[in-house]
């Protein structure tokens, strides 16, 4: 009630202020990190380090793109981190056991899709809260991955596996191609198809969709399946970069992905946001981590700092929503 009763003069604002307010937090974080790092660390603004950042960010970006769709539906997927570990372990074990690469890749994507299907069904059909469902599959994925390897890393991967990270196609590294391809596919899905319109509608006004008699559950499920498939794709790059697969390699990645999505301007409420912001968000998180490394900040502090950043970003986002 109070919101509608505002005096018109209060609502009038300058265009610049509007722009400053509307730009996602990622831009500010990137700008800040850029200034701080270029002044304090000579190593930051070099081609080698920037390429390194881009490669590091590829895995995060791909996972965060899937997470964006999930968050647009007012959901969350905490299982993506362990799922990445499980997909990586499964594909690596298959390759080592002598299966062709294509079979291993298909199996990992199948695992991502199956876990996504489980998540999506329990959320969309059974109506369970997303964070509880995905916390449950978090435990399950983590457990299966650890059991498969006995808690150890999977090493001695065949050399060709490294192509997922080291390969160069038309002078551009494979992870960058993968990120671009995933972005393009996600963009088409989100903005050019019925599926995309339902993603926004599920987050924006699920009640209206239901009352209109639309059967949204399969689109809702598809969102989680898509996030799972993207995570499987990201796992190949991650495994290739580490030259090993480890069951807990992805733990915490879901957290960075959520941070990237929120910093990129996608909101937890009402289906606001989009995937372009997520790219900037992932870059911001990547630069933040890279920068903290360059500044000599230990991993322990990094964990806490990213926690503060995510809370601040969501806090600012919800304060912005108040229309002050």
């Amino acid at each position: 009630m109070a919101e509608t009763a505002l005096h018109p003069q209060l609502i009038q604002r300058s265009a610049t202020l509007d722009l400053v307010k509307k730009a996602p937090g990622a831009f500010y974080l990137l700008a800040l990190m850029g200034v701080v790092l270029t002044t304090w660390t000579p190593g930051f603004f070099t081609a080698a380090n920037l390429t390194n950042v881009a490669l590091q960010v590829a895995v995060l970006t791909i996972v965060a793109l899937g997470m964006t769709l999930v968050i647009l539906t007012e959901g969350i997927d905490l299982s993506l981190g362990p799922m990445l570990g499980l997909c990586g372990v499964a594909a690596s074990l298959m390759v080592i056991a002598g299966y062709p690469l294509i079979a291993a890749v298909a199996a990992a994507i199948g695992i991502g899709a199956a876990l996504g299907l489980l998540n999506g069904s329990l959320i969309a059909v059974a109506g369970m809260p997303p964070f509880i469902v995905t916390l449950g599959t978090f435990g399950i994925a983590q457990s299966i991955a650890t059991v498969l390897t006995g808690g150890d890393s999977v090493v001695r991967l065949p050399g060709y596996y490294r192509w997922f990270n080291d390969g160069i196609f038309l002078a551009i590294p494979v992870p960058i191609w993968a990120t671009a391809a995933v972005f393009a596919v996600t963009w088409i899905l989100l903005y050019q198809t019925k599926f995309g319109r339902y993603v926004f509608a599920i987050g924006g006004n699920r009640q209206a969709l239901k009352l209109a008699g639309t059967r949204v559950s399969r689109y809702h499920i598809a969102v989680y399946v898509y996030a799972g498939v993207l995570t499987a794709i990201a796992s190949f790059i991650m495994t290739a970069r580490m030259n090993a697969a480890h069951p807990t390699i992805g733990v915490g990645l879901e957290f960075d992905a959520i941070a990237a999505v929120i910093l990129g301007g996608t909101s937890f409420e009402k289906g606001h946001g989009g995937i372009a912001g997520t790219i900037v968000g992932a870059l911001a998180v990547g630069v933040l981590r890279n920068g903290l490394n360059l500044l000599g900040v230990g991993t322990e502090w990094q964990v806490a700092i990213v926690g503060v950043v995510i809370i601040t970003a969501v806090g600012l986002d919800s304060i912005r929503g108040l229309n002050l």
Binding site: I258, V303, V314
Partner: protein, 328 residues
């Protein structure tokens, strides 16, 4: 008469049905577990193992008690494990240097502080509870790592270890501590203004606000209490295991959530109670004990916790609505 039943608020009918389903299904679960384990493992039905299960259940209860109260308000606290870990590290470092009172106070203060921040973020920060507390999870983990620098603290004072490893009249002290806490929290939830406010906020936050309830203030108290109880649980846990390191809290979140879900407290808030969590803790302790007795690899534990969460929430949702369907 038919008019009267028709006029019975749907919420109350649902609560009754939910309660009946939860109680029956949990009783069944305990009976099945006890029978199966008694058949499969000869050691299961011994006094030693019984006290073992009860001690495990009481620790599990202490870790899930604060979470239960938060869940009753319709919120969630994903930071409990991490807060417990941080409180354990701070406290253990002071205790091992011989500062008994300061050691205890530091765990409680750390828990209370982290919980209060959660409460402020959720209310005045308007951040969804699972995000605010998920952020706090990483902050607390990070601070724990920073504080410990990868070290492990062993050897706490004997007097302090009593609350975790001691016996009173032949009963493990943690069991007595858990029973006292259960009684206190039950009375708090059922008989105090705060307790009724917790149910009211969980049942219908808008109604609670419109009826003049200080919802924000109550929620801050609830999250602060959850943090405080995590700090308290940390004391009992380190007294039991006589050591602390920064990874202590890492694997505690899933079991705690599983305990609350097993206890039948609805994740949508307003339905359930602390007694359910005590039952959930007993079931979970039986499951863990069974896995140990049967020699199941510990790698499976997080998967089992995940499956328990999914199955118990799904069962309550499906089972509860079936019963409602039958009645109407």
């Amino acid at each position: 008469m038919s008019v009267q039943t028709h006029l019975l608020p749907a919420g109350i009918a649902r609560r009754v049905d939910h309660g009946v389903f939860v109680v029956l299904s949990r009783l069944l679960a305990i009976i099945v577990l006890v029978v199966v384990l008694a058949i499969l493992s000869p050691q299961f039905l011994s006094w030693g193992n019984f006290t073992n299960v009860m001690r495990q259940a009481s620790l599990q209860f202490l870790m899930a008690a604060g979470l239960t109260i938060v869940v009753l308000t319709g919120g969630i606290d994903l930071a409990i494990g991490a807060i417990l870990g941080l409180a354990a590290c701070l406290s253990a470092s002071l205790l091992s240097q011989g500062h008994l009172a300061w050691g205890i106070a530091s765990a409680l203060a750390a828990g209370l502080a982290a919980g209060s921040v959660n409460g402020l973020l959720v209310t005045f920060g308007r951040i969804p509870p699972f995000i605010a507390t998920y952020g706090m999870l990483w902050i607390a983990h990070g601070l724990g790592y920073v504080f410990m620098k990868g070290e492990v603290i062993y050897g706490l004072p004997e007097a302090f270890r009593f609350i975790g490893a001691g016996f009173l009249w032949g009963i493990p002290v943690p069991v007595i501590v858990a029973l006292v806490l259960l009684a206190v929290l039950h009375v708090m939830l059922q008989g105090t203004v705060l307790g009724r406010a917790i149910y009211a906020i969980g049942g219908n936050p808008s109604a609670a606000r419109l009826s003049g309830m200080p919802v924000r203030a109550r929620l801050i108290v609830v999250y602060a209490l959850s943090g405080l109880l995590s700090g308290f649980a940390a004391l009992v846990v380190i007294a039991r295991i006589n050591a602390a390191d920064s990874s202590l809290g890492e694997d505690l979140l899933l079991p705690a959530i599983a305990t609350v879900c097993l206890g039948g407290t609805s994740l949508f808030g307003g339905v359930g109670g602390i007694a359910g969590t005590a039952i959930g803790a007993v079931i979970l302790a039986l499951v863990v004990n069974g896995m140990n007795l049967l020699g199941v690899q510990t790698f499976w534990q997080s998967g089992v916790m995940g499956a328990i969460i999914l199955i118990s929430v799904l069962a309550d949702q499906v089972g509860g609505s079936r019963l409602i369907g039958k009645r109407s």
